[in-house]
């Protein structure tokens, strides 16, 4: 059955990407270390005021995730280019959206692991107290990760053919991520504060809509981008 073949390819790419990343120790370790360093530096810059630290915690975690994520997205296509493996990858039979889906799945797992470390570090370093709304907070985190990874993976594929890909990716990605980061940060902050004004819902709906639109758009556009 075609969908089983497609799903087998998606899993194979994700597994291959995660294996190569975890074996190339520079990969995950350097990305996680960058994220934690950003958190520590932001914590030091904000000073000892406990309330100020708690207020800034959500933003700090997203900033750290953003910068560490860019490194991860760049690497996911660099692996193919370094070894000349992009051509064999494109030459396998089957629809090319499966390549994007495989890369996306690999990056989702990678970034989720990284965010788990960063959130733990953020809670400890910034003295965050979790409220009763923590399951919703996890949901917001998941929606934010999806938005970040969908756009990050897509723009990394677009920038991968360019010599200046390390510079090009943030230039393309950061403006597009503003709505995701704004919605995720504001919704998370509202939920951490008990959502007294009931404004988290609107931001969560915006996140869902944004994720859906770009999930569909990037799947459609990927084939044209990777062939260019």
């Amino acid at each position: 059955m075609a969908w089983r073949d497609d799903w087998r390819r998606v899993r194979a790419i994700a597994r291959k990407d995660l294996t190569t990343e975890l074996r190339a120790k520079a990969g995950f370790n350097s990305v996680a270390a960058l994220g934690v360093t950003i958190l520590v530096l932001l914590g030091l810059a904000l000073g000892p005021d406990a309330q100020a630290l708690r207020n800034a915690a959500v933003g700090a975690v997203w900033v750290a995730t953003l910068f560490a994520g860019v490194l991860a997205f760049n690497r996911s296509f660099q692996v193919e280019l370094e070894s000349g493996a992009l051509e064999p990858l494109l030459q396998y039979p089957g629809p090319r959206w499966t390549i994007f889906a495989g890369k996306l799945l690999g990056n989702l797992i990678f970034v989720t692991l990284m965010v788990a470390i960063l959130v733990t570090a953020g809670v400890v370093l910034f003295g965050v107290r979790l409220t009763a709304g923590w399951p919703s907070l996890l949901g917001v985190l998941a929606l934010g990760i999806v938005g970040l990874v969908v756009l990050g993976t897509f723009y990394a594929s677009m920038a991968s053919r360019s010599r200046a890909r390390e510079v090009l990716l943030p230039l393309l990605l950061f403006p597009m991520l503003v709505p995701v980061l704004l919605a995720a940060t504001t919704a998370s902050k509202a939920l951490l504060g008990g959502d007294l004004m009931h404004d988290a819902g609107a931001w969560i709906r915006l996140l869902i809509a944004y994720d859906l639109v770009f999930l569909i758009a990037t799947f459609i556009a990927f084939e044209h981008v990777i062939e260019a």
Partner: protein, 234 residues
């Protein structure tokens, strides 16, 4: 058509490809019949790799048409990929995976079995290093592993870009036996080469590309009469 199969495994007409303002291919036309291996000769930059990459659906032509086993390389690209085995100039392997993991990945992508993985490793003589990471392999071993990936399933058409580079005498023999078995079973091969010598025994004829055009066509068995060009006709 013979038994419902097209007689021509590859049929290219007026193929043109432009990178920026520069035309790399200018109206290339040729065919490769089923059961035939054809060499594509020419100096660096003559367009050999571009022809192979277009036929392998990695590039889209700017002009002309191309068919692989009767399938249009632009409209039926996905089905063409299912019929073609493409060996690029670089082996395209993952350094941090072992030889077996590289082939398992390829097998998953191709829908080949794990038995095929072990069989391919045996055939190319890499079974004893199957558990080692590719990072430590020599260029020749990497080439052999790329060959193992090529024969994981039985492609109907082989597109080979400088397949003999980095191969020792045994590797050349292996390459020719793979070519022979594909061609012998009614498949076809188009082989881009700098040097004719290692492939001489395996090729039925050769085409010479120069400056993006077919400059000369050489008759059957290039080993004997490759010095005598046949007038270019279509």
């Amino acid at each position: 058509m013979v038994n419902g199969q097209p007689e021509r495994a590859i049929d290219v007409s007026g193929l043109g490809k432009r990178f920026g303002l520069r035309w790399v291919l200018r109206g290339v036309s040729f065919d490769v019949r089923c059961g035939e291996a054809v060499g594509l000769l020419g100096p660096n930059g003559s367009g050999k790799s571009t022809v192979l990459r277009i036929l392998g659906t990695l590039l889209t032509p700017n002009a002309g048409t191309g068919f692989v086993n009767g399938l249009d390389i632009v409209r039926d690209a996905s089905r063409v990929r299912g019929q073609v085995g493409y060996l690029a100039h670089t082996p395209g392997l993952y350094d941090d995976l072992t030889a077996r993991e590289n082939l398992r990945f390829a097998a998953d992508m191709l829908g080949a079995s794990s038995t095929a993985v072990e069989g391919s490793l045996e055939r190319v003589g890499l079974a004893h290093v199957a558990g080692e990471r590719v990072r430590g392999f020599s260029a020749g071993m990497q080439r052999r592993l790329a060959l193992a990936r090529l024969i994981l399933r039985s492609p109907r058409v082989l597109l080979l870009d400088e397949p003999y580079s980095n191969l020792d005498a045994e590797g050349v023999e292996l390459m020719n036996s793979i070519l022979g078995s594909v061609v012998g079973s009614g498949g076809a091969a188009l082989v881009a080469l700098h040097e004719l010598a290692p492939a001489r025994a395996a090729l039925a004829r050769t085409l010479t590309l120069a400056d993006g055009r077919i400059e000369a066509r050489h008759s059957e068995r290039p080993g004997r009469d490759h010095a005598t060009p046949i007038p270019v006709t279509r």
